[in-house]
Symmetry: C2
Subunit: 282 residues, 2 copies
């Protein structure tokens, strides 16, 4: 697999870089961003945090708005931010260009329904193809953590629950915790997976958690004034399911914070320190 470097910015004595590559899983050309901390300049292999963004985002939102590079540079953590869906001229999009389905809204599943199944395999891309690419081309170790926001928080939790051997920790801001039972998730799962709701459970953290083969340290932060909290995010469903099966979750509700990157920026350092601690003890 070849990578094409399309931008480089020095940042906190490390580098923010964007790359394009041809994705087998997604059957199209994809872009991702990577932050390489200064420790990698000498060839030191560093652990990687994969960041999954929310609806409408690309690889750029987190890198530009979260303010994560300062502490990642200090702690020696690489960060990889993929796009949120397949892209390109041949990739199907929602007929009305909705923000919550199609482009920018891959929901981190492997679609089974036409026309989405031709490209929308974000699950395979995030779990297998992208880490293999990163570990082949950059000075990183095989220590991985995964985190995300909103739709990406759903992706991070769901992927860690299904692949606990691949991640030393998982964290989420404002995740969609029970997609089978909220409007965003029902729309996406119906479209990508079809109407047989039995096929949805494999992508729903609330339904997956009792089946986890191994515990991954899990942290979730939620804004108390998040406009989507009651209708879309439903952390109580996940917390109840976790409590019922004894799966430990560090959950914090922050009064006054909303769904924006101003919330993420306020607590990203705590998430980075959480992942750093588990990299060390992994």
């Amino acid at each position: 697999m070849t990578l094409e470097n399309i931008s480089s910015n020095k940042c906190f004595n490390g580098w923010h870089k964007q790359f394009k590559h041809s994705s087998k899983a997604l059957n199209c050309e994809m872009r991702f961003a990577i932050f390489l901390p200064p420790q990698t300049a000498s060839g030191e292999k560093v652990p990687v945090l994969y960041w999954l963004s929310g609806l409408t985002c690309t690889d750029e939102n987190f890198m530009q708005k979260a303010g994560a590079q300062r502490l990642a540079a200090e702690l020696g953590i690489a960060i990889v931010a993929p796009d949120t869906s397949p892209r390109g001229d041949g990739v199907a999009d929602d007929a009305e260009g909705a923000y919550d389905f199609g482009l920018g809204a891959g929901f981190y599943v492997n679609a089974t329904q036409a026309p989405w199944q031709r490209h929308y395999h974000m699950y395979d891309y995030i779990v297998d193809e992208l880490p293999a690419l990163i570990e082949a081309h950059f000075p990183v170790s095989s220590q991985r953590a995964i985190a995300g926001h909103s739709m990406g928080g759903h992706g991070a939790l769901m992927i860690a629950l299904r692949n606990p051997e691949r991640y030393s920790s998982v964290s989420a801001f404002s995740p969609i915790c029970h997609p089978s039972a909220c409007p965003w998730g029902i729309k996406a799962f119906s479209g990508y997976l079809g109407t047989a709701t039995t096929d949805w459970a494999q992508y729903d953290s609330t339904l997956l958690i009792s089946h986890a083969s191994k515990t991954v340290p899990m942290r979730i932060d939620q804004g108390g004034d998040d406009a989507f909290l009651a209708t879309q995010l439903n952390p109580e469903a996940l917390l109840d399911a976790a409590a019922a099966c004894g799966y430990p979750v560090q959950y914090q509700l922050h009064q006054g914070y909303d769904h924006s990157y101003y919330f993420i920026a306020s607590f990203i350092d705590a998430h980075l320190r959480f992942h750093a601690e588990h990299f060390q003890s992994y």
Copy 2:
């Protein structure tokens, strides 16, 4: 003067807010953003850093991308980010919609040429109207600092040199140091001020510095791999003029850094600490 609050985001236990107001200086409705650190919740009056953005920016770029709120919250500094030009349906723009003249490119001058003189009075807005508005409506002291990037770095340096009694310190990232002698500046000054170059000197830091009535602590950071360094920014002209008249400038050239917000984010903490130190000793 009335302010209309149009957004609020809790951020690092303080608040990022956007406001609209009717500007007399600019003869149109304007938007600005303010970060209020947590100290203001109890009514404590905090000093204010005014941030002037560069070409194409609005009040949003710095607030979303610089990562300044974390340390500003700790140090107890409010930050005000105005827009970079007058805006609105009746405001003249460059005929070809150029990025470096007209909307988004006010250059912090008072235009004298038609049609620009109807609205383009960013100098008066930044020096007088906006601080009066801020100090009347928010829990801030009359301690002010000013900073900016590129066109906004030019604005910050030029305004501090002309109004040393109003600012306890000034800093700039990648400023346009000698606008009378670079393509961006010549285009802007010709358009807004006319072709009599004698009228340009009042807005050119390199030409102003020897006439400063009082020294303001000044810090400038410049990326060594900035694509605009040789053609547009010319820090050497300003440093030479400063040396000739004995005006102290803390100048740092950072190898490998470019003109982007990744550079600003990497050194914004140092600028905030610089301003905080001078607020205390003011």
